[in-house]
Each structure stands twice: as structure tokens, then as C-alpha cells.
């Protein structure tokens, strides 16, 4: 079974500061990794994904994440945040297996960007 741990439940940060949201995962098989953003009362929007290849992936809205297999981490970063980045962020994994494919989500990190 897979599990995802988002190490910070809440991250307050000032506008234009850098931010890192941490995600560790556990799995006995290879996985795909994802970050989603959820704005209040809205659905899940894919920020970025790691399927294979380069371990540094770039996503929408200036976010990027680095897959570290040895540390089983997939931390999300942004060099300069905006007020509009205030939202809930979810890290997720899914198994490298076309017969399964379900995603396992972390508990979420609430990013609050203050002026």
C-alpha cells in the first residue's frame, strides 16, 4: 500500500517570499507523483506531475517540484508567492500499474500568503 505524508499542515508566508511545501511518500513499487491545488469550494487543479525522466518538474503558476527517490520526497517550491496562491495543496501518488491507478492523497497543506 502507498502512503503520503505532507509534513506541514499550515504554511503562512509573506507575499513575494519563497515557499516550500513538503511531501514524503512510502511505496514498495514505483509511483507517479502529483501536486494539486484546491481553492475554496472548488475542485482539484493539477499543478504538476512526475511520471518519468527529469526529476525537476515545472508546473503552472510558477511552481516546481523535485522528485528525490532516495529520500522518497516530492517537495513543491515557488520562488516568489502571490496573494492568489493562498489555497489548499495536496500531494498524491499513484501506482505505476495500469490495472490500478488510484491516487492516494496526503492530508493537505494550507498555504496562506499574507500581504
Amino acid at each position: 500500500a502507498q502512503s503520503v505524508t505532507q509534513l506541514d499542515s499550515q504554511v503562512p508566508v509573506f507575499e513575494e517570499a519563497p515557499v516550500e511545501l513538503r511531501c514524503n511518500y512510502s511505496s514498495s513499487v514505483s509511483v507517479y507523483l502529483f501536486w494539486y491545488v484546491q481553492y475554496p469550494n472548488q475542485g482539484l487543479q493539477l499543478l504538476l506531475k512526475y511520471l518519468s525522466g527529469s526529476t525537476l518538474v515545472k508546473g503552472i503558476n510558477g511552481f516546481e517540484a523535485e522528485f528525490n527517490k532516495s529520500q522518497t520526497s516530492f517537495h513543491l517550491r515557488k520562488p516568489s508567492v502571490h496573494i492568489s496562491d493562498t489555497a489548499e495543496y495536496f500531494c498524491a501518488v499513484s501506482v505505476y500499474n495500469t490495472n490500478a491507478g488510484k491516487s492516494t492523497f496526503g492530508d493537505g497543506t494550507t498555504l496562506t500568503v499574507k500581504p
Binding site: 475542485g43 511520471l51 499513484s94 490500478a100 488510484k102 491516487s103 493537505g108
Partner: protein, 114 residues
């Protein structure tokens, strides 16, 4: 760009009533999923569906739940007798399995059980 759609966006029902949540996955996708998110909590897997049968389900997906693909486009989640604790956002997702496991999520249906 093709997308997963869900109807209705918000459903209000009385406890004990049956509800059907509808999803139209992306047309060339083969695997379909339902997830649940109770307010303020994480997204939880309910069930996966492939080749007209359930391929995996979680412990949440008990006998009160069922899924169906009644035609070539719709994918439904039925809750037979709703409970207060079924109040949540329900997300449908689909995968085109031949291209990795990137799930495409619908916008969700917010179910409120009174």
C-alpha cells in the same frame, strides 16, 4: 481540451434518500474512479472501475454504494440510503491508461445530506 464533467454541481437530499451522482469521463479513457472529500479533510479513494466492473474499492465503499456505466459515456455513483456522514464533495476521475497514470478530475459534486 477534453475534460471530465460532473452533474449536478450541488445536490441536497434528505437522510435515507437515494442519490445518483453523474460523471462523463473523457471519451477515450478506460479507467474510471470516484473519490470523496469530507469538508476540510483529504481526498479519499472510493472505487475504481474498468471493463464494466469494479477493479478496486476502499472500505468506505460499502453496500450502500454502487457504480455503473449505463452507456458509453456516463459513469454514475449511487448511494442507496444516504446518511448525514455522506455529506461531502464527490470527485470523478478518469485515466487513459496507455499514457501513464495521470488522472483527470472532474469539478466535483457537493452532496449535502440533511
Amino acid at each position: 481540451e477534453p475534460e471530465v464533467t460532473q452533474t449536478p454541481s450541488h445536490q441536497v437530499t434528505q437522510m435515507g434518500q437515494e442519490v445518483i451522482l453523474r460523471c462523463v469521463p473523457i471519451s477515450n479513457h478506460l479507467y474510471f474512479y470516484w473519490y470523496r472529500q469530507i469538508l476540510g479533510q483529504k481526498v479519499e479513494f472510493l472505487v475504481s472501475f474498468y471493463n464494466n466492473e469494479i477493479s478496486e474499492k476502499s472500505e468506505i465503499f460499502d453496500d450502500q454504494f454502487s457504480v455503473e456505466r449505463p452507456d458509453g459515456s456516463n459513469f454514475t455513483l449511487k448511494i442507496r440510503s444516504t446518511k448525514l456522514e455522506d455529506s461531502a464533495m464527490y470527485f470523478c476521475a478518469s485515466i487513459r491508461a496507455s499514457i501513464g497514470n495521470e488522472q483527470f478530475f472532474g469539478p466535483g459534486t457537493r452532496l449535502t445530506v440533511l
